[in-house]
C-alpha cells in the first residue's frame, strides 16, 4: 500500500473556487477509485490560493482482479461432436479466453456454455496516470478561462503538477494547457520563499511545503486565523465583525497567514457604521472591531457607539515587513474613508426634499420620465395599496411619507459611491433631519427582500412601500413593452414579482392583486398617454406574470411539481390565484401535508376517476349542490347513496367563510369519505356509470361531476400524478 498525492499548481485561484473545489475533488477521486477497483484509505483534499491538493492514504498498488462469468450459446449449438464449433470459438474470442476453457453448465433452459473471464488488476500508477487529467477537467466552477493558445478551461492557469505514489512520480501530461504540463515532484513555495520544494515522497508533502513557507492545510490556516482574530478582539475588548463568508475568504487569500492590527483615525468614526464596515469588509477584507456594548441601530448616523477605531487584517507577507504592510493598509483605508467623509459632508449640505427634487433630472427609462416621476407613481400606488389593506392610521401616515422620500438617496454622493447602501443612507439622512423612526425605517426597508434568501420588511409601513416599489417597476416596464425573456431580465422584473408575493405571504396580507392591477393600469394609461397603454390587457399580462412567479417560487421551495400545477397551473383562473395570493399557498401547503401523511392518494384516486367520467356528462363546473341535480329515487345501489351523503356533507363546508378552516375541513372530509366514494367504482355495491337508462346514467354522471367540482375548490386533481 502506498500514499498517493496530487498537487495541481495554479496561478492565484479565486478564494471561493479554492474552497468549493475541495469537496468536489475528494468526491471525484473517491468515486473514481471505487470504479477503478482501487481499494484505499482516507481521501483528503486541501488547498491554498495557488494549489489544490488531494491525498489518498493506504492505496493498493494494483487494481483488484476482476472475475466475471459470461453466458454464451446453448451447449447443443456450441459443440460439434464434443469439440468447440464456430459458435463456441466466436464466443470465446469475444470473451478473450481459450475455447478449451469454456464450461458447460445446466440452466433452467438446458445446458449452456459459460466463460470465466479473469481480468488481472493493472498497477495503480498506470491507472492513476490515465485518470488524473479527468479529475482536473471534471472540476466545476463559475467563470472558467482559457489561457495562451490552449483550449483547456480552468479557474486560473495551471502551471505545475506534482503526482506521487510514495516516492515514485506518476508520469503524465496535461494536454490543452499552454504550455502542456508534465507531472513531476517539483512544487512551488510561497512567492516570498527562496526555496523550490522538491517533494521526496507523498507523505512529506506538507512538511516540504512548510519549509517553503506554505501552510497547505486549510483547516490549520482557518484555526490559526480564527484564534488570532478572537485573541486580538478580546484584548481590545471588542467583538470581531467577521461574517462566515469573509472568514472563509480570508483563509483562501493567504498561503501563510499573519495578523496585522491597524488603526483608523478616530475622526472617521463620525461616518455611518455601514460605510466603515462596507469599506473594511467588502473593499479591503479587513475585520472591523465592534464595541461589546454596541447598540443594534440601523438608523445610526455615526459609528462612535458601535465601532473601535481599529481593524484586523490577515496578511500574507514576511514578519519583517509587517510594519510597512500595516502602514500601507492604514493609508489605503484612510484614503477611502476620506472620500466617504467628503460624500457625507456634501450630502448633509442639502435636505432630503431637495435631493428628491433632483430626481427630476435623472431619466428613469425611455418613455417613463424621470426618477421623480417614478417616485410620484410609487407614492400613488402606496395610497392605492393602503385602500386595499386595512392598516392602523400611524402605519398609513408613515408609509405615505416614506413613499414620498424613499428614492432621495439615489442622487446622494454616498450611494453613488456605495450603491449597496441605497435605502440605508436615505433612512439615516431622513432621521437626522427629524423624520420619525417609523418613516426612516420604512425608507430603509422598502428595498427588502433583496433576493430569495433575504428577510422581507419588518414593519408594516416598510412592507407597503416595498410592495409599491416593486409594483411600480412591473407596471412601468411592462407598460413600455419590455418583458423578461429567457436569461435576459435586465430590470430584474422576476425578482420584483417574487418580492410582491414573498411580502404578502410573509405578512399574511390578503390583497386582491387582480383588482389592484386593473385600477393601477387604468391610472398608468392616464399618466403615460404616449405609451398608448391598453389597461385591461396590461393588467391581464401582469397577473399572468405574477402567476408564473408564484409557480416558480412554489417549485423553488420544493413543493412537488404536480401539486404546484394542481393549485397554480395554467388552467387555474387568474382571479382564483391572484385574487388573494395567500389562498393558493394555504391550499398547496395543505395538499403537501396530506400527501406526506398518505391521505392524499385515496382521495386523488377517486376524484380523478370521477373527473374522467364526469366529462361524459354535462354538469357545469360551478354547480356545487346536489339538491337540484341528483335524484335519490334513481339510485339502485348503496354506493350511490353513500356518495351522495359525502357530497351533502361537503356542501356546507364549501360555504365556510374562513378559507383556512374551509380547506382543512374539506380535505379531511374528503379523506374520511374516500372509502365510501371508492365503493361507487369498486367492490360489491359498485355501479356501472354508463348504463343504458339515460336518466340513471345522467344521475350518476352528476354525482361524479359534483365530486369533481367540490374537490376542485381545493385543487385541480387532474394535474396530480399518482
Amino acid at each position: 500500500m502506498a500514499t498517493f498525492l496530487l498537487e495541481i499548481g495554479t496561478e492565484e485561484l479565486p478564494a471561493d473556487f479554492a474552497r468549493l473545489a475541495l469537496p468536489q475533488l475528494e468526491q471525484q477521486v473517491r468515486h473514481d477509485l471505487a470504479a477503478q477497483r482501487l481499494p484505499h484509505g482516507l481521501v483528503q483534499a486541501t488547498g491554498t490560493p495557488r494549489r489544490l491538493v488531494v491525498r489518498v492514504a493506504d492505496l493498493h498498488l494494483a487494481q483488484d482482479d476482476l472475475a466475471e462469468e459470461r453466458k454464451g450459446p446453448p451447449a447443443a449449438q456450441a459443440f460439434v461432436d464434443g469439440r468447440p464449433g464456430p459458435a463456441a470459438i466466436g464466443f470465446a474470442n469475444r470473451c478473450r479466453v481459450d475455447p478449451a476453457s469454456l464450461e458447460v453448465r445446466q440452466t433452467a433452459k438446458g445446458p449452456f456454455v459459460f466463460a470465466r473471464i479473469l481480468q488481472p488488476g493493472r498497477p495503480s500508477a498506470e491507472v492513476l496516470a490515465e485518470r488524473i487529467p479527468a479529475w482536473i477537467t471534471g472540476l466545476q466552477g463559475r467563470r472558467f478561462m482559457r489561457w495562451g493558445e490552449g483550449e483547456l478551461r480552468f479557474s486560473r492557469p495551471i502551471r505545475w503538477l506534482v503526482a506521487l505514489l510514495d516516492q515514485q512520480v506518476i508520469p503524465l501530461v496535461l494536454e490543452g494547457s499552454d504550455p502542456a504540463i508534465r507531472s513531476g515532484r517539483i512544487s512551488r513555495g510561497h512567492r516570498l520563499s527562496e526555496q523550490t520544494p522538491a517533494i521526496a515522497d507523498a507523505d512529506s508533502h506538507s512538511a516540504s511545503l512548510a519549509a517553503g513557507g506554505v501552510l497547505v492545510e486549510r483547516q490549520q490556516r482557518a484555526d490559526w486565523i480564527r484564534q488570532q482574530v478572537l485573541e486580538a478582539a478580546t484584548a481590545a475588548q471588542a467583538r470581531p465583525d467577521l461574517p462566515e463568508e469573509l472568514f472563509e475568504e480570508l483563509v483562501d487569500l493567504v498561503e501563510s497567514p499573519s495578523l496585522i492590527e491597524g488603526s483608523v483615525e478616530p475622526r472617521f468614526l463620525a461616518l455611518p457604521p455601514e460605510v466603515l464596515s462596507t469599506v473594511m469588509r467588502s473593499h479591503q477584507r479587513y475585520v472591523p472591531l465592534r464595541r461589546l456594548d454596541a447598540p443594534e441601530d440601523p438608523l445610526a448616523l455615526s459609528a462612535e457607539a458601535s465601532l473601535l477605531p481599529r481593524f484586523l487584517c490577515i496578511g500574507n507577507g514576511l514578519p519583517e515587513a509587517a510594519d510597512t504592510v500595516r502602514r500601507g493598509n492604514e493609508r489605503v483605508l484612510k484614503a477611502r474613508l476620506a472620500d466617504a467623509e467628503f460624500f457625507l459632508e456634501a450630502d448633509r449640505a442639502i435636505t432630503c426634499e431637495q435631493r428628491r427634487q433632483r430626481l427630476a433630472s435623472v431619466t428613469f427609462a425611455d418613455g417613463l420620465g424621470s426618477l421623480l416621476d417614478r417616485s410620484d407613481r410609487l407614492h400613488w400606488l402606496c395610497g392605492l395599496l393602503l385602500k386595499h389593506l386595512s392598516l392602523p392610521p400611524e402605519s398609513q401616515v408613515a408609509a405615505l411619507r416614506a413613499a414620498h422620500l424613499c428614492k432621495h438617496d439615489l442622487v446622494s454622493q454616498m450611494v453613488g459611491e456605495f450603491p449597496e447602501l441605497q435605502g440605508v443612507m436615505g433612512a439615516k439622512y431622513a432621521l437626522a433631519e427629524g423624520e420619525s423612526r417609523d418613516v426612516a425605517l420604512a425608507v430603509l426597508e422598502h428595498y427588502l427582500p433583496r433576493g430569495a434568501s433575504d428577510q422581507p420588511p419588518a414593519s408594516s409601513a416598510g412592507a407597503v412601500v416595498a410592495l409599491a416599489e416593486r409594483l411600480e417597476l412591473l407596471l412601468s416596464i411592462y407598460a413600455k413593452g419590455e418583458r423578461p425573456s429567457g436569461s435576459s431580465d435586465p430590470y430584474a422584473l422576476r425578482r420584483a414579482g417574487n418580492g410582491v408575493l414573498q411580502i404578502l405571504w410573509e405578512r399574511g396580507w390578503s390583497l386582491d392583486l387582480v383588482s389592484l392591477l386593473e385600477q393601477a393600469t387604468a391610472h398608468w394609461a392616464q399618466r403615460l398617454p404616449e405609451l398608448e397603454i391598453e389597461a385591461p390587457a396590461l393588467a391581464a399580462e401582469l397577473v399572468e406574470a405574477l402567476r408564473q412567479r408564484m409557480v416558480s417560487l412554489f417549485d423553488e421551495e420544493g413543493f412537488d411539481p404536480d401539486l404546484v400545477q394542481a393549485v397554480a397551473g395554467d388552467g387555474v383562473p387568474a382571479q382564483r390565484l391572484l385574487g388573494d395570493p395567500i389562498d393558493g399557498r394555504q391550499r398547496l401547503t395543505l395538499l403537501a401535508h396530506l400527501r406526506r401523511d398518505g391521505q392524499l392518494a385515496p382521495v386523488q384516486a377517486v376524484v380523478q376517476r370521477a373527473a374522467r367520467l364526469a366529462v361524459k356528462g354535462n354538469l357545469p363546473a360551478d354547480v356545487l349542490s346536489p339538491a337540484a341535480v341528483v335524484d335519490p329515487a334513481l339510485f339502485s345501489s348503496a354506493s350511490e347513496a353513500g356518495m351522495l351523503q359525502v357530497l351533502e356533507e361537503l356542501e356546507p363546508i364549501l360555504a365556510v367563510r374562513n378559507p383556512e378552516v374551509r380547506y382543512r375541513e374539506l380535505a379531511s372530509k374528503l379523506a374520511e369519505g374516500a372509502v365510501a366514494l371508492s365503493a361507487f367504482f369498486d367492490g360489491a355495491t359498485s355501479v356501472m356509470v354508463m348504463c343504458d337508462d339515460p336518466a340513471v346514467r345522467s344521475n350518476r354522471l352528476n354525482l361524479l361531476g359534483l365530486l369533481r367540482n367540490q374537490a376542485g375548490e381545493l385543487a385541480d386533481f387532474s394535474r396530480l400524478s399518482s
Binding site: A15, M145, G148, P179, G328, V332, A335
Partner: protein, 301 residues
Amino acid sequence: MHFQDIIATLNRFWADQGCLLLQPYDTEKGAGTMSPHTVLRAIGPEPWAVAYPEPCRRPTDGRYGDNPNRAQHYFQYQVLIKPSPDGIQETYLASLEALGIRQRDHDIRFVEDNWESPTLGAWGVGWEVWLDGMEVTQFTYFQQCGGLDCRPVSIEITYGLERLAMYLQDVESIWELSWNDQRSYGDLWLASEKGQCTYNFEASNPDRLQQLFALYEAEATDLVAAGLPAPALDYVLKCSHTFNLLEARGVISVTERTATIGRIRSLARQVAEAWLQERQALGFPLLGEAAREALVAEPLG
C-alpha cells in the same frame, strides 16, 4: 522616483520583454483598454505585444482637485501580450522590482477580480494586484472582445500610475507627486482638472450632449455599415465618452443606462467583426508564415 521616470522605467522594462512601445491614442477614453492597441489587437489570431501609457478620462470621478486620491483625468500604463505567456505574473513582479518595490518588503497579492466592459462586449478573468492592501494593477486574461472569443488569449496588465507613484514617493496627494525634479503633478494638471470638473458637472449642456451622442451613434452606425472599423471605433469611443459626460450630469438612471450601454455594445461588436474581416482580408500579416498558411486557408468560424 519621479512620475515620468516611472513611465520611462516601465517602458524600458517591457521593451526588454519584447513589447512594442506605442504612444497614447488620440481620442478620449475611460481606460487604456479602449485604445485600438488593445481592444482591436486582442481580437484574432495574430500575436501582439505592446506597452504604452494612456491618459484616461472618467468625468464622474472628478472632485475639482479637492480630493487627494481622485481625478477625472489620470494615467494608466497598459501592457497587452498575446498569447499570454507562462510566468507572466513573475515578470510583472519583476517590473515592480524595477520600480524599487521589493516583494520581500511588502504583501503583494493577486486577488480575484473579473473584468467586464459591457460597452465593449468584452470580458476576462484575472486579479487586482494588492500592494499592502492598495490596488495598483489590474491583471486580465481576455476571454471575449467585441463579443468574439479571444483565440489565442491575451493578457492585459494595467498599472494605476498615480497610485504607484504616491506609494513610491510617499506622498498623500496626487497633486503633490513630482513629475520631474522641478514640476509637480499639480503644477501640470490641477488647473485643468478644476476647469474640466466645472465643465463635466456644471457647464456642459446635457441637451446638446444628448444630440452629440445621437450624432456620434449615427456616425458609428454608418461607418460600421461601410466596413471601416478604424474610424467606426473612434466614434464608438466618442459615444462612450459622451455617455460618461451625461452620467456626470446625473441625467441617466440605472435603467436608462442599461439600454444605452446595450446600443454601444452592439456597435462595438460590429466594429470587432469588421476589424477581424479586415485583418483576414490582409492575410493576417503579423502571423508567422506557417501559421498564416494554415489559417488563411480555412474560413474563420
